[in-house]
C-alpha cells in the first residue's frame, strides 16, 4: 500500500565536464491509490523524475519513501512502462507479457495462468502468438501494460506511454488505464474479473499510478493530482487537484475543459520563468 513521498529530490549529471542540474528540490506526496500526472515541456526532467521513482537512477539529493520505507534501489511491486523499446520484437505477445515474471523465476505454471488472465482482460489473448511487428501501435502499448500488470504491481509508473498513438487509440488506452485503476481502487468490486486477483488469491491493493506526459488532456484525464514542471533546473512550479477525474465521460464535461486551460496557463508561466 504505497504512499509515495519525495523530499527535496535533486539530480545532477555531468555533461562535457560541466555539472548540469536536471532536477532540483522536488517535493511531492502521493497518497496510496491516487494518480499523479506530471506534465512539463520536453527536457524539464520529468522522465528523470520517473526513473528516480523506479529506483533506476539514484538522486543526488533528497530522499524517496515508498510505503514508509526509504527507497534504496528497485522495488518488486513497482512497474514501469516506457514509450518505446519496452517490447522486444523477437518475443511473441505472450512471451513479452510474461517476460517480467520469467525474469523473476516465477513457475511456468503460474506464468501461463497469470499472463492468460491479463491478456484476456486486455483483449490480447487472440494475438498471443503474434510478434510486436504484426500489431498496431495501440495493441503494442496494451502488451506493455499487460507485462506490467502481470507483475501485480501496486505502483505503476508510465513514461509518455501513449504519445506515439493516434488520438482515438490514445483515448481508448487512457480509458483502459482508468478502468484498471478504478477496479483496484474500490478493492475489486469487479471481482468477477479474474485479472483482479493477485498471486495469493486476495483482492489486490489499490494501484497508485504516476504518469509523465506532455499532453495537457492526458494529464487532466488521468491525474487526480497534476504536477506542472518548469525548466532550468527541472522543478515543480504548481500542483493542481483534479477531483473531477475518474470517469471516461469526464473528457466531455466543461470541468475538463476548464482544467485543461488552467494547466495550459500554468505551463506557459512555468516556461516563462525559465
Amino acid at each position: 500500500m504505497p504512499q509515495v513521498e519525495l523530499t527535496g529530490i535533486g539530480v545532477d549529471y555531468h555533461n562535457l565536464g560541466h555539472a548540469v542540474t536536471a532536477l532540483d528540490d522536488v517535493d511531492i506526496t502521493i497518497p496510496e491509490g491516487d494518480t499523479l500526472a506530471i506534465i512539463g515541456p520536453s527536457g524539464c526532467g520529468k522522465s528523470t523524475l520517473l526513473y528516480v521513482l523506479s529506483g533506476l537512477i539514484q538522486p543526488s539529493r533528497g530522499s524517496i519513501a515508498i510505503d514508509g520505507s526509504v527507497l534504496g534501489g528497485q522495488r518488486r511491486q513497482t512497474a514501469l512502462i516506457l514509450q518505446d523499446y519496452g517490447l522486444f520484437p523477437w518475443n511473441t505477445v505472450f512471451d513479452n507479457a510474461a517476460l517480467g515474471l520469467r525474469v523473476r523465476h516465477t513457475s511456468e505454471e503460474y506464468v501461463k495462468e497469470r499472463v492468460g488472465v491479463i491478456l484476456r482482460r486486455l483483449g490480447l489473448w487472440e494475438m498471443r502468438d503474434r510478434y510486436p511487428g504484426q500489431l498496431s501501435g495501440g495493441q503494442r502499448q496494451r502488451v506493455a501494460i499487460a507485462r506490467s500488470l502481470a507483475l501485480d504491481p501496486d505502483l505503476l509508473l508510465m513514461d509518455e506511454p501513449f504519445s506515439s498513438l493516434d488520438a482515438l487509440t490514445r483515448e481508448e488506452l487512457q480509458n483502459t488505464v482508468l478502468d484498471i485503476w478504478r477496479e483496484r481502487r474500490f478493492n475489486g468490486k469487479h471481482s468477477n474479473n479474474r485479472a483482479d486477483i493477485s498471486e495469493d488469491g486476495n483482492l489486490p491493493a489499490p494501484l497508485t499510478v504516476i504518469l509523465v506526459t506532455h499532453s495537457i488532456e492526458e494529464a487532466a484525464f488521468l491525474g487526480r493530482r497534476i504536477a506542472v514542471m518548469g525548466m532550468n533546473p527541472g522543478r515543480i512550479v504548481a500542483t493542481v487537484d483534479n477531483e473531477g477525474m475518474g470517469d471516461a465521460g469526464y473528457r466531455n464535461t466543461p470541468g475538463f475543459y476548464t482544467q485543461c486551460s488552467r494547466l495550459r496557463g500554468l505551463l506557459k508561466n512555468g516556461a516563462g520563468d525559465g
Binding site: L56, Q74, T78, A79, L82, Y85, V103, R147
Partner: protein, 249 residues
C-alpha cells in the same frame, strides 16, 4: 512446403540458365580450358561415387567445423565487448589492428605449428569467421537502444538475463548476415589452403586436375565447390529461420 518448392524451382531454373550460357560460351570459344558442360556433368557423375565425394566431404567438414567454432568463440566475445565499455577500451584496438590483415598470410606458420592435416585449415578458416562475426556482433550489441536495457532493468533483470533476453536476440540477425559473407570468404580461403602441401579436399582435387590439364575433372571439382557453397548457404538459412522467426513476418 510451398516455399521449399519455390526455392527448388528457382535453383533448377538457375542451373539450366547457367548450363545454357556455359554451353554457348564453350561452343563459341572452342578452347580446352572450357570444356562443354555436357562432358563435365558426365564426368562429375562418374567421379562422384568415388574420389570426388571423399574430397567433397573433407572440405565440407572443414568449413562447417570452422564456422561452428568461429561463431562459438566470436558471438559471446562480440556481445560482451559491445556492452562492456571498460573491457572494450583495451580489447578493441587489438581487434582493429588484426582485423584488416588477410588471415591467409598466417597459413605458413599454421602449417608449421599445426601440421598439414585438418587442424591447420580449420584454424585458418576459424580465424576468418571469428573476426567477421566479432566485429559485426560487437557493433550490433553497441547499437541496442539504452531504453531496451532500461526496460529490462526495470523488470529486475540481472546482467545475464539482459544478455539472454535482449543483447543476444537483438544481435542475431546481423550475425547471420555477417556469417553469410564470411562463409563465402571461408570457402575461397579453404580452396587456397587446400592447394598447398595436402592431398585431400576440393582445393587439392581442382589443382591436381589442373596440373594434369584434365579440365573436365577440374570443372567437376568446381561444380562440387558450388554445391558445397549452396549447402552451407541453405543450412544458414534454415537455422536463421528457426532462430530469427520475427524478422520474416
Amino acid at each position: 512446403m510451398g516455399l521449399a518448392m519455390d526455392k527448388a524451382k528457382g535453383y533448377i531454373g538457375a542451373t539450366i540458365a547457367i548450363f545454357v550460357a556455359w554451353y554457348g560460351l564453350a561452343f563459341f570459344l572452342k578452347v580446352q580450358a572450357l570444356p562443354s558442360p555436357i562432358a563435365v556433368f558426365a564426368d562429375f557423375f562418374r567421379l562422384l561415387p568415388g574420389d570426388l565425394s571423399r574430397h567433397f566431404a573433407i572440405s565440407l567438414y572443414r568449413v562447417i567445423v570452422s564456422i561452428v567454432l568461429g561463431v562459438l568463440l566470436a558471438l559471446p566475445t562480440g556481445l560482451i565487448l559491445g556492452r562492456e565499455e571498460r573491457l572494450d577500451r583495451f580489447i578493441a584496438p587489438i581487434i582493429f589492428i588484426l582485423y584488416p590483415i588477410p588471415k591467409i598470410v598466417f597459413l605458413p606458420i599454421l602449417l608449421l605449428l599445426l601440421g598439414l592435416g585438418n587442424l591447420s585449415k580449420i584454424v585458418l578458416i576459424t580465424l576468418i569467421v571469428f573476426f567477421q562475426i566479432l566485429v559485426t556482433t560487437r557493433d550490433a550489441a553497441r547499437e541496442i537502444p539504452s531504453q531496451s536495457i532500461l526496460s529490462m532493468r526495470s523488470l529486475g533483470a540481472t546482467n545475464w538475463q539482459i544478455y539472454k533476453h535482449v543483447v543476444y536476440p537483438a544481435s542475431l540477425p546481423k550475425m547471420f548476415t555477417a556469417l553469410r559473407i564470411a562463409s563465402g570468404t571461408a570457402i575461397a580461403v579453404l580452396f587456397f589452403a587446400e592447394s598447398f602441401a595436402t592431398e585431400e579436399g576440393l582445393g587439392y582435387f581442382i589443382m591436381d586436375a589442373w596440373s594434369r590439364f584434365n579440365y573436365q575433372d577440374m570443372f567437376g571439382g568446381i561444380i562440387a565447390m558450388a554445391v558445397m557453397g549452396l549447402i552451407i548457404y541453405e543450412l544458414l538459412d534454415v537455422i536463421e529461420r528457426r532462430t530469427c522467426a520475427w524478422t520474416r513476418l
